[in-house]
């Protein structure tokens, strides 16, 4: 469904991504893990054309995304939940969600379809329904994350790019968010590319995983294998060498 081929992305002179390639099959959840500054967010931004790659190719359903603006990428069915949630704080919860459907208001489906999707989001996150008139900035961290995901869903994406959904959230809330991600795939067949610091939680729900280190993909395997990979365990899953070797 998505094929990223040998992309190189720069921030000015900084070479942030070096020949990164990855792919996603329809209906897959793929985790992208790596340390701070490895380039995880840059991978997502390169796909969504926020920071278009300087070379290489991104193909979505065999269409190249390279030369398009970020809005065209959304139109094709890729939604990104940006790092740090980036909800529109002074606007109401419902306004935030309606903004997610920004490109659909001009489409043929009409406002009823959008209304229906809105109800779908409220079903998925009942907490947002209770607070739909509330100013988004007054929501808790977890609710804001739900809102960010709901907002992205309003575009009816085929592929969702999730950037650190667990950032700054309590463990219980993280569990809830990850449950929703699994539900999305199960019920709507949404394909998901998940970037996470919380590698363990991400790999638990993912089918496959990629490990990114200083702008390069160094490993690609099934999620279960990555969870058992000793090098990954040591570097990203918080188990130190002793624990592994003395087992």
């Amino acid at each position: 469904m998505l094929r990223v081929k040998n992309i190189n992305t720069y921030y000015g002179k900084v070479h942030a991504l070096k020949n990164v390639s990855l792919h996603l099959n329809r209906g897959e959840i793929v985790a992208l893990i790596g340390a701070n500054g490895a380039g995880k967010t840059t991978v997502l931004n390169s796909i969504s054309a926020l920071t278009p790659p300087a070379s290489g190719e991104v193909l979505f359903e065999n269409e190249p995304l390279g030369v398009m603006g970020a809005d065209k990428v959304v139109r094709l069915g890729i939604s990104q939940v940006p790092e740090g949630r980036q909800i529109f704080k002074p606007l109401s919860v419902e306004d935030n969600l309606e903004l997610g459907a920004y490109l659909r208001y001009r489409g043929r489906e009409g406002k009823d379809a959008i209304r229906k999707d809105l109800e779908g989001i409220y079903e998925l996150f009942p907490r947002l329904l209770e607070r739909k008139r509330q100013i988004a900035g007054t929501l808790s961290g977890g609710e804001q994350q739900m809102l960010a995901i709901g907002r992205a869903l309003m575009a009816r994406p085929k592929l969702m790019l999730l950037d650190e959904p667990s950032m700054g959230l309590a463990p219980l809330v993280v569990q809830e968010i990850f449950r929703v991600i699994e539900t999305l795939r199960a019920e709507q067949g949404t394909t998901i590319l998940l970037v996470e610091q919380n590698a363990k939680a991400a790999l638990k729900i993912a089918d496959r995983g990629y490990v990114l280190e200083t702008g390069k993909i160094i490993l690609e395997e099934k999620a279960t294998e990555l969870l058992n990979n000793r090098e990954v365990q040591r570097a990203y899953l918080g188990k130190d060498k002793k624990e592994i070797w003395e087992r």
Binding site: S48, L50, G69, A70, D71, V73, V74, R75, S79, Q80, V81, P82, Q86, I87, F88, K89, P90, L91, D95, E98, L99, G100, Y102, L103, Y105, R151, A152, A155
Partner: protein, 322 residues
């Protein structure tokens, strides 16, 4: 939306009955200018209050509209309505073309670029003496007419200009309550988030810049045909700052706040004639005080202050939540 429409109708009724209570031509004449500045403030508010993009060059578009109308009618005998249309179209084209490079800038750089634009246009008015009459101004601009009806009195001009101002307000209210309005507020908050939702941020900024420019140009044309004389000082840097003050005093992102700001800042100097040349200092002070004590502008600030005062009087002194 229904409530917005009701608010608008109420406001329109108030505007249309005001002349009945105003005795004497002088105050009515001032109210005509309130109408013109309302259009200008609403235009700037769309850009600054909703999309969060600053412009310190609004007076340039206002002036270009006025001079296009003035020169085309006074020197070339063109029909004023056609001249107004050409002025609005030309400024629209200019802002659209200039908007692409200028609105790539953000914050201070954007302020500087628009400031520069305003100054360039001001110098242009002064120096092209053959066309604009230079510093001594351009006179002989005719009044607007419809058939044999001439807008030559304050009362007639009042209804003409407030008709346009009401249209501008209606346009702004409609725009800001639509999906475009939401998108503008989104840009204001987080451009990244707006972009990942599919908002073409740059194009939308350019479009709103253009709308703001066209509205200002029309206000300029109306000014030229009402006053029948224009000179560069009416379109200098001071005017841009004055507009900024109106929008901030009224309340960023509040359309009716802009009306209030325009009214206050047009009426105040008339009432307090002593300020005269020091008006810019008063504007500066007002700006500082407003941003410090009423960052939401009068429209939000006064109710908040009233609630706070009420709380204090009751003896509770509890903090008022926004």
């Amino acid at each position: 939306m229904k409530r917005e429409l009701l608010k608008f109708l109420l406001f329109a009724i108030v505007v249309s009955v005001v002349p009945a209570f105003v005795s004497g031509g002088y105050l009515l004449n001032v109210l005509v200018f309130v109408g013109i500045f309302t259009m200008l403030a609403v235009a700037l508010n769309l850009l600054l209050g909703f999309a969060g993009q600053i412009s310190l060059g609004q007076a340039a578009f206002y002036g270009l509209g006025a001079y296009m109308s003035g020169v085309l009618t006074a020197s070339h005998g063109m029909n004023p309505w056609v001249a107004m249309l050409i002025g609005a179209g030309a400024v629209g084209l200019l802002t659209f073309v200039l908007g692409f490079p200028i609105l790539r800038l953000k914050g201070h750089s954007l302020a500087m670029a628009t400031l520069g634009l305003g100054i360039i246009v001001y110098i242009f008015f002064n120096e092209t003496v053959d066309v604009t009459g230079g510093p001594s101004g351009l006179s002989g601009i005719p009044n607007l007419t419809v058939g044999s009806f001439v807008f030559d009195s304050d009362l007639k001009n009042y209804y003409l200009i407030w008709g346009f101002a009401l249209l501008a307000i209606l346009l702004a209210v409609n725009l800001t309550n639509s999906r475009i309005g939401r998108a503008l507020k989104a840009i204001h908050q987080s451009e990244v988030a707006a972009r990942v939702l599919g908002v073409d941020v740059h194009l939308l900024k350019v479009e709103i810049f253009t709308i703001s420019g066209v509205l200002s140009a029309i206000a300029g044309s109306l000014y030229a045909h009402t006053v029948m004389f224009i000179s560069p000082t009416s379109f200098g840097f001071n005017v841009s700052i004055e507009l900024l003050t109106m929008v901030i005093i009224g309340g960023l992102g509040s359309i009716y706040g802009s009306v209030l700001g325009a009214a206050l800042l047009t009426l105040l100097p008339e009432l307090l004639r002593t300020f005269q040349d020091y008006d810019i200092i008063v504007y500066g002070l007002l700006l500082i005080l407003m941003t410090m004590f009423m960052p939401g502008g009068l429209v939000r600030g006064i109710p908040d202050a009233a609630v706070a005062l009420y709380g204090k009087l009751k003896g509770g002194g509890a903090d008022v939540e926004r």
